[in-house]
């Protein structure tokens, strides 16, 4: 849905995994924009009706960009930077109860 317009890249390319698939991003990208640029349409499916959602605001207000990052659930993907090797899961429904450590 999005594409980069960087001409001479000053930010190194990185790779992360989304539901088992490898995607490419640039260091400094927010995770939300990295996902949008990698062709992820639905970031999550809602707990109420199961309908697909993706970011509305990209500024930390709408909470429609919540994903799971390295095992942490309900992370605002617009507020974290994409990191090399990050493991992202796109959630469906309500968050799982945490297993006790």
């Amino acid at each position: 849905m999005f594409r980069t317009i960087i001409t001479a890249s000053t930010r190194p390319a990185i790779e992360l995994r989304v539901d088992g698939r490898t995607i490419e991003a640039h260091e400094g990208d927010t995770l939300a924009v990295a996902l949008l640029s990698a062709g992820v349409t639905a970031f999550r499916h809602t707990p109420v009706s199961g309908e697909p959602r993706a970011p509305l605001c990209l500024m930390g207000v709408c909470f429609d960009c919540l994903v799971e990052v390295d095992g942490r659930q309900n992370v605002q993907s617009c507020m974290v930077e994409a990191q090399s090797g990050m493991q992202v899961r796109l959630p469906t429904g309500a968050r799982r109860a945490e297993e006790s450590a």
Binding site: H26, V48, R53, L56, F63, D64
Partner: protein, 465 residues
């Protein structure tokens, strides 16, 4: 006390507040949720990609001047710090690197800025529907733009600015669909003489309109009955304009109906708010120095009332001057001397506001949407359901919460708050001020329980010093 002054937010108001306070000898710390200075308007300005900087021009790059000034001032700046609670004694609790910590100062300046007004209409929850400002953030932060044709719908200077910037970035703009009702023009005309006394914004507006016209973008006015079509993502925008039905295919639909103050923090602190009928939003009550109804708690910039980045800069500096005066670092005379040029700059910025507020006043159907439209995106509550609850006897948004969970999802009512208040006000025949707003409680954003462990044993120590 850990500091003389805590500033929250590193946008224009926060940066100006911080370096002004430091220059007046206040031991100042600035907390900001983002990884770098700039807020939303100057997001990522200290490390923006060169071609993005060129595309956004000097208005954006001005933010770098502010960030440099802040860095030189010696202010302690903590980025990646999410403030999630402020107590009425001004103890600030924040989360950074998965640890919560507390700071306390006699003076606190919230520069938490604005957010885009929600534009609830059928289909607005589909992936591919974004606020227009969201694409600006993607551009500033990651040099990313929509890869499919976009249609922009709504009203306001930002809608036209985003259209121009996307065009410059090579995006296909399939149409601009303006929703301002025809009555807005007459109402705005009254304020034109005042706007003409500071004409730079009008000239900018005219330049944008010329740019879009010369690109021959299909442009519709006074549009109504907007709906986004699509099964699992946005495919087209349909609407009525000029007595005809239209449909524009676009994979990205950008909505915008102005920006409104983000009042989560001021609501948390229960300070006085007024309903601003010109901006159709809540406005925390402040004096010249940003002082709210809670002593020492000040708000600067668009968090009080929308006036733009340059006004925010002046207002941030004024709040810092007020804080220094309250701490006896400035005499009455010194305060007056410092404030005079700032107040002149602020007044100049405010001259165009009534004109813009009237010209781009959002249409009725955005503020009080049709029954079938979802207003609370998190809990998927429709406007009709809110009206039904009013008929059942709910007197305000905190009661409708109990019965429907409207406003109780992860966004904590940020998106639906203004809409629910206005729907209830209309239904109950009351003013928005009488209906009130959601009661906001800590944490302002969800924080991991494990992050609280770092507070153990330190709460007492910090709050007592």
């Amino acid at each position: 006390m850990t500091h003389d002054l805590i500033v929250i937010g590193a946008g224009p108001a926060g940066m100006a507040a911080a370096f002004t306070a430091a220059s007046l000898g206040l031991k100042t710390v600035l907390l900001d949720e983002q990884p770098g200075a700039g807020g939303q308007i100057y997001q990522n300005v200290t490390r923006a990609d060169a071609n993005v900087a060129a595309l956004l021009g000097p208005d954006y790059m001005h933010g770098r001047t502010l960030a440099d000034q802040m860095m030189r001032s010696g202010v302690e700046v903590r980025h990646g710090a999410l403030v999630w609670d402020v107590a009425r004694d001004l103890t600030v609790t924040a989360l950074q690197d998965n640890r919560s910590f507390q700071l306390r100062s006699p003076q606190l300046i919230a520069a938490t800025g604005a957010m885009e007004r929600a534009s609830p209409l059928p289909g607005w929850t589909l992936p591919g529907v974004l606020n227009a400002g969201a694409t600006q953030i993607a551009l500033k932060r990651a040099a990313a733009v929509p890869s499919v044709p976009v249609v922009l719908a709504g009203a306001g200077p930002l809608l036209l600015l985003v259209a121009c910037q996307l065009l410059d970035a090579g995006v296909v703009v399939a149409g601009i669909v303006e929703t301002s009702p025809s009555a807005n023009r007459a109402a705005a005309l009254r304020h034109l003489p005042a706007a003409l006394t500071a004409p730079e914004y009008l000239l900018k507006g005219l330049r944008m309109i010329r740019r879009l016209r010369s690109a021959r973008i299909p442009w519709f006015k006074q549009a109504t009955n907007l709906a986004v079509e699509g099964k699992t993502q946005a495919e087209a925008l349909r609407f009525s304009s000029g007595g005809r039905l239209h449909r524009i295919e676009a994979g990205v639909v950008l909505l915008h109906h102005g920006v409104v103050p983000n009042t989560q923090l001021s609501r948390l602190l229960r300070v006085e708010h007024d309903w601003d009928d010109a901006q159709l939003a809540w406005s925390p009550r402040v004096d010249t120095w940003g002082q709210t109804s809670l002593t020492g708690f000040r708000i600067a910039g668009d968090g009080t009332s929308i006036a733009g980045a340059l006004a925010a800069e002046a207002s941030g500096a004024l709040a810092a001057v007020g804080a220094a005066h309250a701490m006896q670092r400035l005499s009455d005379d010194e305060r007056h001397q410092r404030a005079a040029p700032l107040m002149r700059a602020l007044a100049r910025q405010l001259r165009i506001r009534p004109f813009l507020d009237a010209l781009y006043r959002p249409p009725e159907w955005i503020n009080v949407p049709a029954d079938a439209t979802v207003v609370c995106r998190c809990e998927e509550v429709t406007a009709g359901r809110v009206r039904e609850m009013a008929r059942l006897g709910c007197q305000g948004p905190n009661q409708t919460k109990f019965f429907s969970r409207c406003g109780m999802g992860p966004c904590q009512g940020r998106i639906c708050g203004l809409g629910v208040t206005q729907i209830l006000a209309r239904e109950l025949g009351k003013s928005p001020a009488d209906v009130g707003a959601y009661r906001i409680r800590a944490p302002l954003k969800p924080v991991p329980m494990s992050s609280l462990a770092s507070l153990a044993g330190k709460v007492h120590e910090n709050t007592m010093t």
